[in-house]
Symmetry: C2
Subunit: 324 residues, 2 copies
């Protein structure tokens, strides 16, 4: 979504003051956390920022708890307060001004600014009312050609379902990358083409302060729900040779199926090189790679961009030990 400069400016001017609450520690919520914290530092002194998340860890759609811990430490090091396992239950106001919230645990927090980053739902009512079939999460149900149930009506992007290429089930993960690819397929087919959308792996990434945080494929829990027998290992490595300036930590978890060895997904948190490594795993998922392929492909080495053993090779070797 593109913000008009005027609205953008208006939001900036609205930004407080001395305290804000972000409800929901998802992708949008955490981007707001950083923006507010930095705006405070550069603009009008330090600002209290509290994020309230109903799950027991932040970024629940991207990370397992042990990966989320790494990001929670980064947030706390930057002065962000995190409240987990509680929901915003009531917003308090006085004289038309926001004054604070009450959480599901009856915690009362004063604040003059609240952002709700609690999720996205497809805006599909108009389609439904026109007789277009809805599917997963009430998104418009499309096939791999982006066709709906009604001839000559196509759908793509944040209103439509997408097929997960690991589980082969419909899902709803509204992201610009998917919208872009689906839109191209729909466009080609609308004018008589015969192009297929290959589906998604649920690849997503964000950056919070100095950490990139990415996910693709399934977590172990999602693997179990889809009939796999997942194993996983979490490793910590570095993004450059030990002696090279600017070296940053990187944490990688790769999930694989115990019986078949098939790669199921990955979560990566680190200072750099996260996006491209998530992409590598996303490709591995499309190609139904074995965890031993990831352990032994011919990765290259240059001191300013990796240690001698590519961290993906290391992480996959560790997970591979758990595969029978």
């Amino acid at each position: 979504m593109q913000q008009e400069p005027a609205q953008h400016q208006k939001l900036k001017e609205l930004i407080p003051m001395h305290s804000s609450i972000i409800a929901g520690a998802g992708l949008i919520g955490l981007e707001m956390v950083e923006a507010f914290k930095k705006r405070g530092q550069t603009g009008r002194g330090d600002m209290d920022v509290t994020v309230v998340e109903m799950a027991d860890h932040i970024l629940p759609s991207l990370l397992d708890k042990n990966m989320a811990k790494i990001v929670e430490r980064e947030l706390e090091a930057n002065g962000v307060k995190i409240i987990l396992g509680e929901r915003v239950e009531e917003i308090l106001g006085r004289d038309g001004q926001i004054k604070g919230i009450i959480t599901s645990a009856k915690r009362n927090i004063d604040s003059d600014f609240i952002v709700l980053g609690t999720g996205v739902r497809p805006n599909s009512e108009i389609a439904r009312d026109a007789g277009v079939e809805l599917g997963y999460a009430n998104a418009i149900k499309v096939d791999e050609y982006m066709r709906t149930n009604i001839p000559d009506i196509f759908a793509a992007g944040d209103c439509a379902t997408a097929r997960n290429y690991i589980t082969n089930k419909d899902t709803y993960i509204p992201l610009g990358t998917t919208a872009n690819k689906q839109g191209r397929v729909a466009g080609e087919n609308v004018v008589g083409g015969n192009t297929k959308f290959r589906g998604i792996a649920g690849s997503a990434i964000t950056k919070v302060f100095d950490l990139f945080i990415g996910k693709t494929g399934l977590t172990s829990e999602e693997g179990i729900r889809n009939g796999f027998d997942p194993v996983e290992e979490l490793i910590e490595s570095i993004t450059r040779a030990g002696y090279y300036p600017g070296n940053k930590p990187i944490w990688i978890k790769i999930v694989a199926d115990r019986k078949s060895g098939r790669v199921l997904g990955s979560q990566i948190v680190g200072g750099e090189g996260v996006k491209e490594r998530i992409d590598l795993i996303a490709l591995a998922l499309l190609l139904k790679a074995d965890i031993r392929d990831l352990a032994s492909f011919d990765a290259c080495y240059v001191p300013p961009a990796s240690p001698v053993w590519e961290p993906i090779n290391i992480a996959a070797s560790q997970t591979a030990k758990l595969v029978i």
Copy 2:
């Protein structure tokens, strides 16, 4: 190879003066070019550095001519002189001091320091004399278990051959990554293990001034020599969203087989994110991926690490148009 600090120091002290010549614009040659140029700048004023390469472009083992041009511009922008298509034929001296060179085109260049970076040969004589069979490029011939022709004698690393997993032929590309992986396999098998080395894709990377330069798999020319019918396309993209600070250019070429669509190799030059993208292609090569897989896998997007369309997706889409 690890330099002893004492030797390292000695080399630093030897570094001139006012001019140096690097014979051979390969990986080692170009690393020396940068080191000398920077040493000159930070140490004792500017230094003339001239690189003499017998091929018609630099980094001939890594890059095609059109990719090499990008790196040649970077070298020239940093004040490096490049002489192509000529060999160092004679080294001139006087009173035990180096005075310059004469090239195969009878060009006479004054210089007080010359580095020969003209290639690597396996140090395999002792093995040959002991009856161990040599193979490609006189490296010790090993199978996938790192066994030689003599029972109980194993070889690994810069003295040994490695199987290319695209062509399935033996090759010799002595790099630390391969030595590391082969050494581990040999070690396990020496003590009774049954581990296979999966082979190499010829993945290699270097950094020269502000550019990373990587290659994996085959160039089109190498593809033809191995019975493929290669097509390729070179694209220029960026490493971050257009508006994001620190955005850098990246050039990607992907080679595929016209008939089968199989990915054959890639060359990438750019300011960041080159190593991980070469790794992604190296994995694609191991998995015998189709160029259309690379065009459509679910890459993730975050403004500080890519444009919305991952550059690999873009490059592969362009090459895919040439596949029948």
